[in-house]
Symmetry: C2
DNA sequence: CTCGTTTTCGACAGCGTGTCAACTTTTCTG
DNA sequence: CAGAAAAGTTGACACGCTGTCGAAAACGAG
């Protein structure tokens, strides 16, 4: 009756929990194989072993499934913000932070690539992405502000703008990482780190 | 008979030409008022003064209308690439080029903002945007390569990567320009110019 | 006026979504 | 272990949007 809410079932992995996991699993696979738009709720349901109508017992929309997947990944990612939490142009920490996000991105590239277009049709995902992005940008902006106050970062571009530029550069490059080799990935990290260094600290 | 192709009608502005213009006009208005997805072909047709089915005589899809609008704007823009055609870090030319694109973006913000999401459903628009972007990036990359050879630009990031970073930064900022004042616009140009300067020439 | 072209439209078929009430299965409780 | 409540499942239905077709209406030159 309390359809598709989080505090629904009580003990152990009931049949429903398994079904929900099956849907998420099917989504992970299907979203990777074909464009998000061309995957119907019917596809998702059948791939998870139930009829289309059954899907609605677990999720309200297709976008809700994608949001559920994304939120897991971003949760993992939130922990590895070592550079944001540091002071000054610590190149090594910057590289480390970028590296972990890059690897996570590549691992879930199939799902990640759906976000830009899915945002158009799912207000749920749109809200989620907006929240994630502003939280992320805020942390970057705070770090840069700190360094500007300390005199280590240049000041001719305001911290929030620099933060936006950094996410733009990062996201654009990550998008190309779908089938990248480890070497490609390291090169991307290196490029982005160098760019951030130049933008924020001036070389 | 040659429905919805470019070489359809032959002489003068026949009734059909006016209808086509009316559809484009309606689209410009509607896409600005509501999200692209929520505008149906029926909305477009009725706003242009004909029935839904009549629409298909002029355009094959909704995406084709958007593509037609976009291609006009990009054509205008292609002419103002003064910085790409120059040599060295000519800050003034860079500002000039950015300024003209920024103003054009703001003027057509209602339509421009549709592109990212419309690309998901219209292969026609997707192809167009891909072509435009790669042509643009290529010109930027060529300019930077030249400067790298001449020793005016730094070389630790490859020219094509720098070009990608520049478009990413530019596009991200332009997206926020919908209802911007002239001052906002100039500030954006200044920020982007400064960022490019640092990325390409190292300060 | 008249014939061929251009333009318009209603009818139809298809697909994906979301809701509903009825039905079956599982789980809890006395 | 019975019996009720909750969880889970389903087919039928209504809806909205898309795209096609063929017939009809408006148009324009000869």
């Amino acid at each position: 009756m309390t359809q598709a809410t989080s505090t629904r079932r009580r003990s152990g992995p009931s049949k429903g929990d398994l079904r929900e996991a099956a849907i998420l699993d099917a989504a992970r696979r299907l979203f990777g194989e074909q464009p998000y738009e061309s995957v119907s709720i019917d596809d998702l349901a059948r791939a998870a072993g139930l009829s289309r109508t059954g899907f609605y017992f677990y999720f309200r929309t297709k976008g809700a499934v994608l949001t559920a997947l994304m939120s897991r990944y971003w949760e993992t990612l939130g922990a590895s913000h070592v550079w944001f939490d540091s002071d000054g142009p610590s190149r090594e920490l910057l590289r480390e932070q970028l590296r972990s996000s890059a690897y996570l991105w590549r691992e879930h590239a199939g799902v990640m690539k759906c976000a830009p277009t899915a945002v158009a049709t799912s207000s749920e995902l749109r809200d989620f992405m907006t929240r994630v992005k502003s939280r992320q940008d805020e942390r970057a902006s705070d770090k840069i502000s700190r360094d500007q106050r300390d005199g280590t970062a240049t000041t001719s571009i305001a911290a929030p703008r620099l933060a936006e530029m950094i996410s733009a550069i990062r996201d654009a490059r990550y998008t190309q990482l779908a089938n990248a080799s480890d070497a490609d990935l390291e090169a991307a990290v290196e490029d982005i780190a160098e760019a951030i260094q130049r933008l924020v600290y001036g070389g």
